[in-house]
Symmetry: C2
């Protein structure tokens, strides 16, 4: 079997994105900047009310894996779609980035997942996810030899929403640890942390996770504190490699030994922040794969995030590798 730098495991989702305004969010009872799970009926109703859409493959971990592939990593992805139009789009797009994607599509059951993303003029995205076929990702989809032949296993917190996917997550994590590989987790969003706080903390404290990605609000949610310094100190005590992203304020690398702040790349106009955290992780993990210093890893993450927020959708449009070379980061 081929070997991979990074193997991602996540919900296979296609994003259906539309610009909107704050009034629309209020009228539809949507909480700005968060991800909310919806059923198919609600998905159809919301879609009917949305404006002109742009459809781009997404999924948090999938975005990260594709970003890493663009940056030159050998990558693979495990996720579940149905054999339907949105599933075909997801599979086409991830493979077009030369990511190995061999998960079999479901022949029946729920339709492929979609995330209705509403983007307000401030560049914030409000996400409404119908998980559909993602509910059918099971431990059987996790191939032990694929895990064992990958240096880093990247998991998204959102996997805890479909119950079977959570078991797949744990299987992948256990296999990776047993094979001496590193496991990275993205906390996904503050409400996701709120749903699974204790379980995520257990993952960290049971040493099932080596690398943790969180943004500020996820961190606050994890430790249930409004004080950033307190949260950072609690994070330091976990004794893992953690990275806290802070949008235009850059990121903070936290280990037992030290706390380092790293700048963001300034961006003229933010169009859509969808995928900023995902692409940060892509850059950071690529840096780790290439044995770069931690601050350089964070800079590469910031560069990838800066590209993604300058257009709609969470898949790179510019040549990320060339951009990194231009900036002396690869």
């Amino acid at each position: 079997m081929a070997s991979y730098d990074i193997l991602g495991l996540g919900n296979a989702v296609v994003d259906v994105i539309a610009p909107t305004d704050d009034d629309f969010l209020v009228a539809n009872n949507l909480h700005k900047g968060t991800m909310q799970l919806i059923d198919e009926a609600r998905a159809e109703k919301l879609y009917a009310a949305m404006g002109q859409t742009t459809i781009v493959s997404g999924g948090s971990a999938a975005n990260t894996i594709i970003g890493a592939a663009h940056l030159g990593c050998r990558t693979a992805f495990i996720g579940k779609v149905k054999a339907d139009p949105l599933g075909d789009i997801f599979a086409h797009d991830i493979r077009s980035a030369r990511v190995s994607f061999t998960s079999l599509p479901a022949k029946d059951g729920a339709a492929s997942a979609r995330c209705l993303v509403l983007v307000t003029p401030d560049g914030q995205r409000t996400m409404n996810t119908f998980l559909g076929a993602c509910q059918n990702l099971t431990p059987e989809d996790v191939d032990p030899s694929l895990v064992a032949s990958s240096e880093i296993i990247y998991l998204e917190g959102y996997l805890w929403d479909p119950p079977e996917a959570k078991r797949a997550f744990l299987k992948a994590s256990d296999l990776a640890r047993a094979a001496g590989k590193r496991v990275a987790l993205s906390l996904s969003d503050a409400f996701c942390v709120d749903r699974y706080r204790d379980e995520f903390l257990d993952l960290i404290r049971d040493r099932r996770i080596d690398i943790l990605f969180a943004n500020e609000s996820e961190l606050h949610s994890l430790y249930q504190t409004a004080d950033f310094e307190t949260a950072l100190e609690l994070l330091r005590e976990e004794d893992i490699l953690a990275v806290v992203t802070r949008s235009e304020k850059g990121s903070i690398i936290v280990t037992r030994e030290e706390t380092q702040a790293v700048h963001a790349f300034p961006v003229e106009t933010v169009i859509d922040t969808t995928g900023a955290g995902d692409l940060f992780a892509a850059g950071f993990l690529t840096g780790l794969v290439k044995n770069m210093g931690l601050p350089e890893c964070a800079r590469l993450g910031a560069l990838a995030a800066a590209e993604i927020i300058q257009h709609y959708g969470a898949r790179p449009q510019a040549d990320l590798k060339a951009l990194a070379i231009e900036n002396g980061l690869l």
Copy 2:
């Protein structure tokens, strides 16, 4: 029945857009900057070879109508989709712009049309259209009362590709003329002009057309001359209202009485020129509807075109009306 400022008749197409490079065009025998008709098998093969896609509703005349709706015109559209996922996307998107779209979707037959758009780093698009359900647009889809209640009927040259759609075009044009309404035609592309040159010239000379939109290469193709001045002179002699678009060089308004050059709006970075001509027509026709002077119509067209080439896809992302007001054009 409600009355409309502009009624569009065109192929109902969803664009599947991917960035590419010149090598890909050469390897796949594609002629840069043109639209080529393909069958379903070829569409599937080309899609499989394409990179990560962005899916946005398109269709030349549909883009124009949506642009005009954004600029505040009351608009309607006639076009044929199948009741399938791409057809649903097209219908959702055009209605979300408050365009009246009442054409019934086909229940069987060919799938909804798609245009595989390959965008090279120079911002040029190379289009590969599978017409599918558009082949099923017939004269029966043209409601006489809808035509009679619309001030301007806008037709795309591409309608001459599906034989039945051509008959629908002629029916709409005849009805409009009989009702004392104006008929506008966009020549669509130079190869389309090459396919139907004599018929397009007959349309003009038989007074079935009042307003003609062409870009430089379409104009050269129409009169089979490489000399721009010669082509302009021949156009002048047609004695209709014609507008020749010239990308960053602006546009030229040609009537029997005078020839006026109008500047383009400068753009910092061209991302994707898809829809530039369509949106120019949207602005120009909106100007006519609002009884603006011809140079102001062309400036409004240039403004709408400038917005569209700064992002992927041929549907506006900015608030075109606000942009026009900001620039003193509405």
